[in-house]
């Protein structure tokens, strides 16, 4: 059959990866000096920036303050030049609002909000280049940014996407694989306990295959955790060298 083959007979994907292989991940913490915490991540061709402000006093109406915990506020924005077709509005459209809500749900599960009552934590994520897996890249960048800001969390939050083609589960989908229309699963995991912070799936998938896809996504998220852990340790080492410890 003519057309794009997502998985070849030898088990290679379009960009040459194996089914369970992640794209190259490079990350850096402390990108901006003026924000409380910031981080940048590149997952293949997807580039995302996350900036955290807080915990600080609630902006706007004081009535939104929660008496026993902090309010987590997230905004997802993707640059107009991030996709192949130019986007007209960077944020404010339905998809960005939905992503913002999903990020908020993810981080409310991980951040120890009870330690900062009546305050607000702002997490702003900006996608500079979108090549598939934007939600996962945003969550990974935001985790690093929250750590850079020194806000206590239960655990890392590592996310990855997964799909299903020809009986095989694929991890970390690129834009071409997402656009092909197969089932897609987005998973955000707290690796140490194995708890799932967010699970979202689009399109039809037979329930017999669900466990396989879920396991592929969870394994990929654990691999991401190993990488992010290295990045944090290296950053702390560099910071301590600068401080002269």
């Amino acid at each position: 059959m003519a057309g794009l083959e997502l998985l070849s007979d030898q088990g290679y994907r379009i960009d040459g990866r194996r089914a369970g292989e992640l794209r190259k991940i490079q990350a850096r913490m402390g990108v901006f000096a003026q924000a409380d915490g910031s981080a940048y991540i590149e997952q293949g061709n997807t580039k995302a920036l996350a900036v955290v402000y807080g915990p600080h006093e609630i902006r706007g109406s004081r009535s939104r303050a929660l008496p026993d915990r902090a309010l987590v506020n997230c905004q997802y924005s993707s640059a107009t030049f991030s996709t192949g077709e130019r986007k007209r509005r960077p944020h404010g459209d339905r998809k960005s609002c939905e992503m913002g809500l999903q990020l908020r749900q993810t981080f409310e599960a991980a951040i120890l909000t009870k330690l900062h009552p009546r305050s607000q934590i702002d997490i702003y994520v900006q996608v500079l280049q979108a090549d598939g897996g934007t939600y996962a890249a945003c969550v990974n960048a935001a985790t690093l940014a929250v750590m850079d800001a020194g806000i206590p969390m239960r655990d890392f939050v590592c996310a990855c996407s997964a799909g299903f083609v020809d009986g095989t589960a694929l991890a970390d989908l690129s834009h071409v694989e997402e656009a092909a229309g197969g089932p897609q699963l987005a998973l955000a995991l707290l690796p140490a306990s194995g708890q799932i912070a967010l699970l979202e799936m689009d399109a039809r998938l037979h329930e017999d295959h669900l466990e396989q896809v879920l396991e592929a996504a969870a394994q990929a998220a654990r691999d991401v955790h190993t990488l992010l852990d290295q990045v944090v340790r290296q950053h702390v080492q560099e910071a301590s060298i600068l401080l002269g410890d």
Binding site: Q34, E42, V51, Y53, Q75, L128
Partner: protein
């Protein structure tokens, strides 16, 4: 604009220092901070550039799309500017908070490019009255550390320098219907000449002297500023006063002379930097935000 709160003592310190030609970080009144420019940062665009001027961080992406020319200028393409003040810079820009500043900056960019000589718009025309290239210049403000207009104009110039527009041919068959053919070679493209693209020089009046490239703290001490758009030959294309205070006419002429001086030096160093970066060729190590 992102604001910083200063005490009276700090303001007095800055103002007195400026009178002696000595700023808080040791610069003179006409010195710029260290500028880092890198092009080709985002791959989905026709051209892109990132400029870091002290704590101000700007990312510009240029996308070339085909469209129909404007009715009053059928032989030219055109540029569209959009400025996004992202919430990364300050939480006040969340939601629609950054729209006002973004519109102000975009309107300034439209004005400085609104003359025949800045960019050769005729080269963007494919077939008169039917097809032309529209360049969408999108500016993303990531961090605000003072002196936004200068940094944005430098980034726009660098991104336009980096823009590569694919070459197209118009094929006409017997019935008269035209077909546009894109060339097969991805490296076959037209480049824009940015010799005459102006850069904005912002002069902030502090006390009775003026400073170039003010930081956020210095902007908080100044009541009025003058934005001057200068080309590499020292020609002033646009001038605008911003701020709540007022300026007297002699100081405006002084500031204009300063801006021409400073602008020429800025253009020379920017051109040499862009040419040096290009001479490194495709094997250049791209740093982006990872460096």
């Amino acid at each position: 604009m992102a604001s910083v709160s200063l005490s009276e003592a700090e303001k007095v310190y800055i103002v007195h220092g400026v009178q002696e030609d000595l700023r808080v970080d040791g610069r003179g009144c006409e010195d710029y901070r260290c500028v880092e420019v890198e092009t080709d940062v985002v791959s989905n665009t026709s051209g892109s550039a990132r400029v870091k001027l002290g704590h101000t961080d700007i990312l510009v992406g240029v996308k070339a799309e085909m469209g129909t020319p404007k009715l009053e200028k059928p032989n030219e393409g055109y540029l569209e500017f959009f400025v996004d003040c992202s919430a990364n810079a300050t939480p006040e820009f969340e939601g629609r908070g950054g729209d006002e500043l973004g519109t102000e900056i975009a309107n300034t960019l439209y004005r400085i490019f609104n003359n025949k000589s800045s960019v050769d718009l005729r080269s963007l025309c494919i077939s008169p009255r039917e097809h032309c290239w529209i360049l969408y210049v999108d500016v993303l403000l990531l961090e605000c550390g003072g002196n936004l207009f200068d940094a944005i104009s430098i980034a726009v110039k660098a991104a336009l320098f980096n823009t590569r527009i694919p070459k197209v041919r118009v094929l006409e068959d017997e019935e008269g219907s035209k077909d546009i053919e894109l060339s097969d070679d991805p490296y076959d493209c037209i480049r824009l000449s940015v010799e005459n693209v102006p850069c904005i020089v912002t002069l902030c009046k502090i006390g009775c002297r003026h400073v170039v490239d003010a930081t956020l703290q210095e902007e908080a001490c100044s009541l009025a500023s003058l934005l001057v758009s200068v080309t590499s030959k020292g020609v002033v294309t646009c001038m605008r006063k911003v701020g709540k205070g007022s300026l007297d006419p002699e100081s405006i002429f002084e500031m204009m002379e300063s801006s021409k001086r400073v602008g020429k030096v800025l253009h020379v160093s920017l051109q040499s930097l862009l040419h040096k970066e290009e001479s490194l060729g495709p094997k250049r190590l791209k740093v982006g935000f990872l460096g």
